[in-house]
Subunit: 290 residues, 4 copies
Amino acid sequence: MGPCDYISIAFTSFSARPLENTRSHARAGITLPRGTGEMPKREREDEQFYVRVGQTLANGETCIGRWPHDGPCSPDEVALLLIDFQKDFCHPDGYLAKVGGDLKPAQKAVKKVMPVLEAARDAGVMVFHTREGHRPSLIDLSKYKKWRSCMAGAEIGMTSQTGSKFLVRGSPGWEIIPELAPIEGEEVFDGPGYDKFMHTDLEHCLRCAGIKYLIVAGLTTEVCVSSTIRGATERGFECLLVTDGTAGSDEHLCSAHIKTMLVEGGIFGTISDAIGVCAALKRVQMASID
Amino acid sequence: MGPCDYISIAFTSFSARPLENTRSHARAGITLPRGTGEMPKREREDEQFYVRVGQTLANGETCIGRWPHDGPCSPDEVALLLIDFQKDFCHPDGYLAKVGGDLKPAQKAVKKVMPVLEAARDAGVMVFHTREGHRPSLIDLSKYKKWRSCMAGAEIGMTSQTGSKFLVRGSPGWEIIPELAPIEGEEVFDGPGYDKFMHTDLEHCLRCAGIKYLIVAGLTTEVCVSSTIRGATERGFECLLVTDGTAGSDEHLCSAHIKTMLVEGGIFGTISDAIGVCAALKRVQMASID
Amino acid sequence: MGPCDYISIAFTSFSARPLENTRSHARAGITLPRGTGEMPKREREDEQFYVRVGQTLANGETCIGRWPHDGPCSPDEVALLLIDFQKDFCHPDGYLAKVGGDLKPAQKAVKKVMPVLEAARDAGVMVFHTREGHRPSLIDLSKYKKWRSCMAGAEIGMTSQTGSKFLVRGSPGWEIIPELAPIEGEEVFDGPGYDKFMHTDLEHCLRCAGIKYLIVAGLTTEVCVSSTIRGATERGFECLLVTDGTAGSDEHLCSAHIKTMLVEGGIFGTISDAIGVCAALKRVQMASID
Amino acid sequence: MGPCDYISIAFTSFSARPLENTRSHARAGITLPRGTGEMPKREREDEQFYVRVGQTLANGETCIGRWPHDGPCSPDEVALLLIDFQKDFCHPDGYLAKVGGDLKPAQKAVKKVMPVLEAARDAGVMVFHTREGHRPSLIDLSKYKKWRSCMAGAEIGMTSQTGSKFLVRGSPGWEIIPELAPIEGEEVFDGPGYDKFMHTDLEHCLRCAGIKYLIVAGLTTEVCVSSTIRGATERGFECLLVTDGTAGSDEHLCSAHIKTMLVEGGIFGTISDAIGVCAALKRVQMASID
């Protein structure tokens, strides 16, 4: 990768508006290498370039959060993780609609995530996609999961009216929607679980790729997104959830799970909206063009 | 284990009142205990003794859930899992109060769980306890967790006014409260994570002990309880959350996380209140006395 | 599954010849199949039909092992696990030959495993296959693994003389050899690791399928076979290694790793040769035909 | 940590004698920071300070290996991992002797590891200890492990002639031998498994501490040492096994497992003897004194 900027995002409130006055950190140049016996002087850098939590901003608001927590990181260490943007969770004949989910929030989230995905690609930030899906034999479908999906009206593995088998790999409904479909060079992770770190090689790939920070968007907030962010946190990845880039079966649950991110000082990481994330990603892109 | 009954719980609504008219299986001669060489005849038993989902009950209500989903199980396969009932999450000088949590819900939950614990012990159901806590060296405290707990007002590892180090093993605040403290024969699992299956031998012990079903209560609903139930579900354990035996930093979040259990037909298992769980456990006990 | 026999294997020595005089359990009326509502009466059966460890056999030899350790199990609980029988480990242009491995042992092992695979299929025992392989992007190839394979003469991901990329998914050399290729209904597990339980859904699938016992054969003994058997043992699966159905880069290492199975009373399970395993599988098949 | 040297070890043969002429890398000063867009110029550094694999050394021998594989690392990233140096594996009344293990190799290994431990402490390299052991309730002892240890003559959990319960936490035989006992600041990991990454918080602690490289010694080579090195490799830690700092129940097995480290270009890492490791650790210490 060529010369590049650092990623950093700061917030003024729980609605997570991006800070207009967050300055770029390009060419800070004062960070010393690990292994020389000196740690990068992040505190000093902070004073000069970085908004501190609690600091009064130019617009009079108070900065209440930042990500990553300890100062800007290299874009090489960041990935955009898009969770289960599959037809089965977005389309009227899909699994989510059949188990009683409202599709409008998902469709709104897709629109918000599209520019984030574009900005990540432009900035050279890695993109990972996940798909919930079972082997066609359904050997990986527990009796309980089969039963509860049946009770809810969309038994996993059964054929819907449109001929797709709910959440079965290779079935049309299992595909990622075209708006957010992976392009060459973007990895996809298939698994039967809600936490995408379980039963997949996601952790292994993130570690091999040197990723430490995850920008997360996806479906559904209360199930796979929450479980995956929890799994990431247990494994030491620092997460940022795109608040308007996630949706679930119910807006109240969705909002509660977003709030849960922030309890106890940010127990599962932090949040931003799509505009804030795009702005940070664009600063990276511009710096790398210079 | 001597002769014993099976555990089963049925519900009429999302508020999870226990069904008064759920009949005891104590003297159902055909449901013999594990170990006698005969498995229960589940299909037949179901028709005769067991409330089906969707069935109209004597009181006119409709049964909307049962646990385990596929019929009664042996008490040998069930464990009561009590999560983080530590002073740090219940006392005014503890960690949770310092990060802004309301203690009243936790204190109410403790009262509800006490009879559940007693009933489990009387019924011979295994009890497992967990404690969130870090090694005194804090080597297992990630930089992020340290930072966010500091931001929230109770940096993990720091000494509180009463001389306890927040969430440090061996510190007074880290101990389980006396009301729910483990007794001889009950295992305790210490870990630095929220999902108690991570970084511990919990899964290994549950499997060695033949446990398949977990009755879960604990603190806090939105963090460790939710994460652990998710972790259990990924690993194939079927969970029942005691709705009034769990509490968190905020009642709205708590309620949302309980509701999340039930989306998509019961994605993370099912729920009951303490009275319902006690009733099921007492049926086991009575049968084993006969 | 229809009526069926139980699987059991007994041994007289570390060379693991099958016991000629091990009696079939096919018509042991008291060992009924799982699902009829009756469990086998293991203690009594043991006395009458089952060879005990330490017992003197008709041929004067002493029985030194049996599998499963606690008496026969249902074929539904057993799987045959075939590890990495890929062209890259069997063919002269493949990865193993290029890193200096001798192919003759692998080719001999293939011949021994063919009848075992056939017997498992005939007996209705589940078959699982694994493939070592990396994503075409090589994102899951650690810098170390890339480097050491390069040092050894077959850098993973590089194109061989015959146009196949070493150990890359989708490449000709990565395919399972035709003699042991999976057929419809047999699952395949792809992963970048040596322990096939790491970074895959193998454990999840085995648990969903109710598998408790693994008959293991594959390549190479000292790497993937040993690592996978260790991984299985940690997770509570009881393993039997087919001694002449496994091979590695060096016969001395292979033999040492087979011996390692048996230290400390069978630390990683037990062993048998292909003839012994076939005989046990055929008894199952015959019983199910009756 | 103050100013310090890098760790590097080079070898001339599989007997892994340390290279006398490996020069110190202290104050190389040419490594650029991660995040500036430039990777450290390891290749150039290599030419000047570092022995390449294949290079002819001053003494006429050929360098056949180095660790870490891609050039020197910071001592902060290295840990010494001492596996199961417990009385049960070293003393005549302990578990290993009772299952037929020869104790002399273990006792020789202890003598070799003592100076390594001292050198690591002097160099400020972190030290981690493990203990194999079960909870006093034996709930974490699988039926199979209990049975096979019984067959081998030392049933885990049973009381030996000297009053210690084999491999039970808190029992005298389970303690680490005084010669290698942990001191203040050194963490100990207790688990029921052979791979110390399973059912423990070892991985979590290593990651929190920033450890990437492991120098491994311990008992027994063929069981816990091999399993743990395999587990470390799957998780991306780069291992060096101290060849004369490990021992097992049988010298032939031990030697085969050491050789296995090196197949396919060093599949599980590399090896050195205690003298080589001490020399590398002393260079670190000297540099930090300057």
